[in-house]
């Protein structure tokens, strides 16, 4: 009842403010009149009656004010007042407001964007039930790897039932050609064991998943499950798709179901478009059955109540047993399970993404710390500058709680503005990171979308800092000894706080120096990467991915198809040279492996001989502009039946035939090293898999002797790339509409892809941006503190000048403090950067983690900037007119 009544009054007070006020005024006026009337009734004359009444009621709405304080909703009125006052103050100091808000925004925004990226790459759980039970397995032979041979995986599955309810295997990233309604379309499939979907615990959106036979989980039914997205885009969500007969790579297959919406398999980053039983992999990819050269990725779902530690101990037993069962191949096997979402698959040294992500997280964290320090600094400085205002208001009767609330309101408004800016920046940033063109047709899912968790984190961190930074001075300011402050003005500042602010600035200078150095290293590395002598000439070359196999061609017909394609391409106008290759430099496919080199003594303990391989057609060297140093090129006569031959690069020649002419020597590859290959030529080194300095041994074999179902047609022509692209696409279509053409791009574009320059570019861009942000923040910080402390000392300087101090001496006083702070920051920053440089060094091209030039340039830039920031206030101090300084206040 009482509450209802209060609530009604609250609403009335808020929404009918004017009415309530007018009513109150009328009531007070009537009170006054009646009082006066009574006074006159008691015998006073009109004038004294009025005076007596006036004396009692008071003027200027005092009574009304008293009433208003007790009214329901009074706090809201106060808040509104505080907000209006804070707004006025913020508008009156636009520089301060802008700097503080921008600082907040930058810190929160950068952090949010980068955290979103890391989140998307590493941390975001896959959308399936009970992800906390999902693990992937890794094994160690010589190094850790997540690739398993299928039979071993199957043994693990059978023997680890105590820990895992399901163990499934997948082979992702397989491009097939799906022909359902005439014309074949590329589809990126994941080949999965039939228990894959039960492991994932998902149910089909339509139809069914593969039938599971626990004896043989690889499965042999020619069935296909489509992803929801592929079903929507390629079949327009046709509800009658289940049971639809189609062909995959020319072989009949039945579409049996559609995976649920949003399900993208368990392999991070890969956005699988279809799922095919693993048992079909060999035949679909045109490999001999049971050639277990391909490795599978293994997932396990923990049983209810089984934790990771238990699973590890079960796996340890299994590994031991397998080592005994297969002493030849699995002698030193170690098995481990890792939780899905605890890092990208393959994130055990083989894949640089987690390390790079971690580095950027550290850098972004540094920016946030710098931003927070800056805001704290700004607020502290301002609070001290306002000590006098606080004292005056306090002297005029403002309650302490009221003052604290006022300052907090201001801080929170700043923070809110900063959050808004940070959200916008973070959103734009994560969008920009997510929309980077990866220059591949692979369906990669880089979902760097703005993540609310991340944003809340950044917001919380910055919010806490601002609250502390606002609260401490507010409490202090409201407790000041009024007398002292009023009398001594600005000199009532404790030196302890000054020291704290100086420490903040030292931290800022060192933090931003670290950021800048790392940024510098990345930028230098990118420049180096761009200037690396590739060993081939990418200009004027266009690549076309062609997959005859996906068009339903078997090997003999495929060979014929590619021969015709090459012949026709060469007759097209403008074509200078055309050739076929199994892989392109910096492309997603890398071939090669272990080999046996005749006459090369293998040292035990050293890695076995291995090399990268590419299968190419004649004229490849001409198309790519790779020079033949010695011997002969691959010729048309190097046919399927002729002696197998190879061209080797300089590194391979030197490593395995040091001091000799490699031509005529032999090495062998393949299963049991039965494929004997004779070296017929030596070619110049070229960067094929990365831009780092070390070039791996590599050899080229004739495509005719190492047939590949999917090949890349490379065309060097004098016509514009777009013209060439159109012409070749048309050519393939005219040969067979079922053969898909994909990954069509210029060689230069391809070089900028995932494995090429893209990472260097992104790295340099990101690091550069963070470095710049840190730089700006540090300059703001140094400037803020120096100019404040110079202003604080205006009186002192005035006295000194009055006593005859020379401008140079004044300059020295102000500068000395700045120099000390900056110097200390530089030393600490360099030390931190050296430590971080060691970590980063692995990702740099042609530059070490302790590159002296970078350190020098960045150090000088930082010093100059910081000293300039000191110089401005110092100059102002130098010009202090003693008369004005001393007369002030």
């Amino acid at each position: 009842m009482e509450f209802l009544s209060r609530a009604a009054s609250f609403l009335r007070n808020i929404f009918r403010r004017r009415h309530v006020d007018r009513d109150l005024d009328a009531e007070v006026a009537s009170y006054f009149e009646i009082l006066m009337e009574n006074n006159m009734k008691n015998g006073m004359d009109e004038q004294s009656a009025r005076r007596a009444a006036r004396l009692e009621v008071g003027g200027g709405g005092q009574v009304q004010d008293e009433v208003r304080h007790t009214q329901a909703g009074a706090w809201l009125q106060t808040l509104w007042q505080d907000i209006r006052y804070a707004t006025r103050i913020l508008i009156k100091n636009p520089t301060f407001t802008l700097v503080a808000v921008l600082t907040f925004s930058i810190g929160i925004g950068a952090n949010t964007a980068i955290f979103s990226m890391v989140n998307g790459l590493l941390l975001r759980p896959v959308p399936v039930p009970h992800t906390e039970q999902l693990t992937y397995l890794v094994q160690r032979h010589e190094g850790w790897s997540n690739g398993f041979k299928y039979p071993i995986m199957d043994e693990i599955r059978k023997q680890s039932g105590d820990a895992f309810s399901d163990v499934a295997a997948v082979v992702p990233f397989q491009m097939d050609g799906l022909a359902a309604n005439g014309g074949s379309q590329p589809i990126w499939n994941e080949y999965v064991t039939t228990n894959f979907f039960s492991l994932a615990s998902v149910t089909p959106a339509l139809g069914s998943f593969m039938a599971t036979d626990t004896k043989n989980i690889a499965g042999n039914d020619a069935v296909l499950v489509l992803s929801h997205a592929y079903w929507q885009t390629h079949f327009a969500g046709d509800p009658n798709i289940v049971g639809h007969a189609a062909t995959l790579n020319g072989r009949p297959i039945t579409i049996i179901g559609v995976a649920p919406k949003g399900f993208r398999g368990l392999t991070p980053v890969f956005d699988a478009q279809g799922y095919v039983p693993l048992g079909l992999l060999a035949s679909m990819q045109g490999q001999k059955p049971n050639s277990d050269t391909s490795s599978v990725i293994v997932f396990g779902r923990l049983r209810d109540g089984v934790d990771l530690a238990k699973a590890q101990s079960v796996l340890a037993v299994v590994a031991q047993r397998l080592a005994q069962e297969f002493p030849k191949t699995e002698k030193s096997l170690v098995l481990r399970a890792a939780l899905l979402g605890s890092g990208i698959i393959g994130g055990n040294g083989a894949n640089p993404v987690p390390a790079i992500a971690a580095i950027f997280l550290v850098l972004a964290g540094l920016v946030l710390a710098l931003a927070s320090a800056n805001v704290a600094n700004l607020l502290l400085v301002r609070a001290i500058a306002r000590t006098r205002e606080m004292a005056v208001r306090s002297a005029l009767g403002a309650a302490r709680g009221r003052l604290v609330r006022q300052v907090l309101t201001e801080t929170l408004m700043l923070a809110l503005l900063g959050f808004a800016g940070g959200a916008a920046l973070g959103y734009i940033g994560s969008r920009a990171l997510g929309s980077v063109d990866l220059r591949t047709d692979l369906p990669l899912l880089l979902d760097f979308s703005f993540d609310w968790h991340v944003f809340m984190f950044a917001l919380g961190a910055a919010g806490l800092v601002s609250l502390l930074a606002g609260l401490v001075p507010a409490l202090r300011g409201s407790r000041v000894d009024l007398n002292e402050v009023m009398r001594e003005s600005g000199r009532g500042v404790s030196s302890g706080k000054q020291r704290f602010r100086s420490a903040l600035v030292v931290a800022q200078v060192s933090g931003s120096l670290t950021l800048l150095i790392v940024a510098g290293l990345f930028v230098r590395s990118m420049i180096n990467a761009q200037q690396v002598d590739l060993g081939f000439n990418p200009n004027q070359v266009v690549n076309f991915g062609v997959d005859a196999h996906a068009g339903g061609y078997d090997e003999p017909r495929g060979r014929e198809f590619y021969r015709t394609l090459l012949e026709r391409t060469r007759t097209m106008p403008g074509v200078e040279s055309a050739s076929l290759a199994a892989t392109v430099p910096m492309g997603p496919i890398s071939l090669g492996g272990a080999m046996h080199v005749e006459g090369f003594a293998e040292t035990p303990g050293q890695p076995k001989p291995s090399a990268n391989m590419n299968a190419v057609s004649p004229a490849y060297l001409k198309t790519m502009g790779i020079s033949l140093l010695h011997g002969r090129d691959i010729l048309e006569s190097d046919s399927e039946t002729a002696q197998h031959v190879a061209l080797v690069n300089e590194v391979m020649a030197q490593r395995y035939w040091p001091g000799q002419d490699p031509i005529g020597h032999q090495f062998s590859t393949g299963e049991d090293f039965k494929n004997v290959i004779q070296v017929v030529g030596v070619v110049k080194n070229s960067h094929t898999s990365s831009l780092s300095e070390t070039i791996d041994p590599a050899y080229y074999v004739p495509m005719m002797q190492e047939y590949r179902a999917a090949q890349t047609l490379q065309v060097r022509s004098s016509v514009a790339p777009s013209t060439a692209m159109q012409a070749v696409r048309g050519l393939v279509r005219s040969l067979d509409t079922n053969v898909p053409v994909f990954d069509v791009r210029t060689m230069n574009d391809a070089l900028n892809g995932m494995d090429g320059l893209l990472l260097y570019r992104m790295g340099a861009g990101l690091a550069g941006m963070l470095g710049l942000l840190g730089f700006i923040l540090a300059v703001i910080g140094v400037y803020g503190v120096m100019s404040y402390s110079a202003a604080q000392r205006t009186r002192e300087i005035g006295i000194r000048v009055a006593l005859g101090a020379k401008p140079a001496q004044v300059l020295k006083i102000v500068f000395r403090q700045g120099l000390f702070i900056v110097g200390l920051g530089l030393v600490i920053g360099t030390a931190v950067a050296l430590a971080l440089g060691k970590v980063v060094a692995g990702f740099l091209v042609g530059v070490g983690g302790a590159d002296p030039l970078t350190y020098l340039v960045v150090g000088i830039a930082m010093t100059v900037a910081a000293l300039t920031a000191c110089f401005v206030p110092a100059r102002r101090a130098m010009k202090v007119d003693p008369m004005i300084a001393l007369r002030y206040e």
Binding site: M1, E2, L4, S5, R6, S9, L24, A26, E27, V28, S30, Y31, E33, I34, L35, E37, N38, E56, V57, G58, Q62, V63, E66, V67, H69, T70, Q71, A72
Partner: protein
């Protein structure tokens, strides 16, 4: 009696006002006069404490306010007790009795 003392005796003031209004609706000046008269001048309630108290109690729903005419035909705001106000008066009386008995005993010892 000044504002400072009234603050201390806020509960008392509320009770006095409720008691004063228990006999019928009155306007502000009349309330103040009646209290002064009844307490024989011990409590002089100025508008600075009377108005906040009246409005606070009105917002709590103990009093009801309405415009009316004074004895001299002046427009004035009249306050009267509501049902919850009456209940509140009883509560306050009980409380006061307990306190005054307790305090008197304490002082007698």
């Amino acid at each position: 009696m000044g504002d400072k003392q009234t603050e201390l005796l806020q509960g008392t003031l509320d009770m006095l006002i409720l008691k004063t209004l228990a006999l019928g609706a009155l306007h502000g000046v009349a309330v103040a006069a009646r209290i002064e008269q009844v307490t024989q001048g011990t409590f002089q309630v100025g508008p600075g404490s009377l108005f906040p108290a009246l409005h606070r109690m009105e917002e709590k729903g103990w009093l009801k306010a309405s415009w009316g005419e004074s004895e001299t035909k002046r427009k004035a705001k009249f306050y009267e007790l509501t049902k919850p106000g009456r209940r509140q008066l009883e509560t306050e009386k009980e409380r006061w009795k307990t306190i005054s008995v307790a305090v008197s005993r304490a002082l007698e010892i």
